[in-house]
Point group: C2
Chain length 339, copies 2
């Protein structure tokens, strides 16, 4: 069997191979404008507003890790995909694929965690499905959550980033890579600092708090698989503007920085599950930053960069030692099963 | 490990154990009215109408079978869950969990089939997700489809069956068990009649054609996992009316009947993927039957029974030899991974 004929782990990574699969296979056959706009949630017209609609399956390994578990992750991920579209998450579906022999007590722990997270986010689990496969035919439990949320007409363009212009400021609500390194450490049973835990959290409250400032958020995305680099590379490509990042402003905790040095990961590509990238006009940047920092999930919020006319379509990192480095979408190996 | 502590194949069967898991675990923790109303799709208020929202994961084995494949099934299943709620299916999400090493050519066949079925049903695939797990950690491919559809206010009660009353007629659009026996035969490589194939089809066109008669459909459900028996047992329990079925009117093809005799299955419990159970007022029964039979997917439509005041909460089958048999929800083994 040739490598180019089969599915590889990297097809699920959020990097270049995943993009190729999406464009060459899924977009080609399922061709329609809503899908190919590549927003985090699909945006559908309904009455006076829009419906945001999104789906994700979760296959994270291990199931339980500091700061969360597969169930909490599944609720946060879908709530966040709706929220970064500017939508108010309203309802979730939950679909389980269970391996015969999986402990019901573990299933209950996961379900309780999902229910708690859904309550925290103010969304209801309104429909579901359960399938069971024979022992050995799946890895304990996989969860799909899909979600719907309402979106006012004026927030529709957040998903598309069509209002973004040179000069706009890029903000981030906290440190990068906590989820990725936490899952890696839990999987490999590495001894890490007890401070290290997944950032897994529903972001709708934080985003709502920013909306209440009245500032126009021009673009949002949650940097999950593929990390901040992937979000910004996609944005630069879509806008055909440049993006300049200041490396010294990008927050990474010491333990994540240390783990990245040891294992050869770049925090820009690591998965996050409680982070949002926001783009706002320069005039709104201070008030948005203040609002972000007022919220428990945004205390470490920072401005990390700016949209530029220079180097259209490219993301450039101004390094701490004074150089410039092009940030590309990751082509090589990423951490599999991180979400 | 005790049997009562672990997930068993029957937890995914649509029978009694599945119901217990849903009620004792999922309903307890995700408690809300929309969920616990146990409609096929969740019904959410939006503007002047309602949104129907549903999800299903597909783990069918084998992936390809006469009349369909996992992809066609995944589109039909979710289109049908929306359609039997009285909704017009509008958009689907598709989420793949792929095993490392799965043939991209098989994935493409599946995707093409999904796209064709979606076009036939007039719905768009608007959002998606792809995860890949290591070889041996899932069985080739699992697919989740979720869907949304619009529902006019007057059709809301179809899902709940609240308009159903004694005297109403129960209709079925064709033979029972074709999907179940087809998948079983394909899995076990049994030589069966070339006529046998899955009934897998999107039902929204058929249902729309019935709506166009102006007849008020009082209840609909697609008898998938758990079969006709499960649908009617749930309905009788909800209504606290009785249901009487005429065994001689229930259509089963000779090849399915033969297979059931050989393998000890009851067609009432076998899965269907292109069938709908409809309840209509006696005065509308003839016009609905005519409409059903005018459509390619309803040519063998029949009236199979009636809602009664007798034996409330129970389904009674009048057998061909003149006896009465209580039809219960299946407690024992069912065919796993049928959808």
């Amino acid at each position: 069997m040739k490598k180019e004929d089969i599915v590889l782990l990297n097809h699920g990574s959020g990097g270049k191979m995943a993009h190729e699969l999406i464009r060459n296979l899924f977009f080609r056959h399922f061709d329609n404008e809503v899908l190919t706009s590549e927003t985090d949630s699909a945006i559908l017209d309904v009455g006076d507003g829009q419906l945001a609609f999104t789906t994700d399956s979760y296959v994270v390994n291990p199931l339980f890790f500091p700061g969360g578990n597969i169930g909490k992750l599944a609720v946060c991920g879908t709530v966040n995909d709706l929220s970064v579209s500017g939508a108010k998450p309203e309802a979730l579906s939950v679909s389980f694929i269970l391996e015969e022999g999986f402990l019901l007590s573990d299933l209950e722990k996961i379900v309780i965690s999902m229910a708690e997270t859904a309550r925290e986010a103010g969304v209801a689990v309104v429909t579901g499905d359960t399938k069971v496969v024979e022992h050995g035919k799946c890895d304990k439990i996989f969860i799909n959550t899909s979600g719907v949320g309402w979106l006012s007409r004026e927030k529709k363009k957040i998903s598309y980033g069509t209002g973004v212009a040179p000069g706009d400021i890029i903000m981030l609500n906290g440190t990068l890579g906590d989820h990725g390194i936490t899952v890696l450490a839990a999987r490999e049973s590495l001894e890490m600092s007890p401070d290290l835990q997944s950032d897994c959290a529903p972001l709708n409250g934080l985003i709502q708090h920013v909306f209440e400032t009245g500032a126009a958020v021009k673009f949002m995305r949650d940097p999950t698989r593929g990390g901040l680099a992937t979000v910004l590379c996609e944005l630069a490509e879509t806008l055909q503007n440049g993006i300049e990042l200041e490396e010294e402003n990008i927050p990474v905790s010491p333990v994540v920085r240390g783990a990245c040095e040891v294992f050869g990961y770049d925090p820009l590509y690591l998965a996050n599950e409680g982070k949002v990238v926001m783009v706002v006009a320069e005039k709104d940047a201070d008030s948005v930053l203040t609002a972000l920092r007022e919220h428990p999930l945004g205390q470490e919020a920072v401005m990390i960069g700016q949209i530029t006319e220079n180097h259209p379509g490219k993301v450039v990192l101004r390094t701490e030692i004074g150089g410039n480095r092009i940030v590309d979408m990751l082509a090589g190996e990423q951490l599999p099963r991180i979400c």
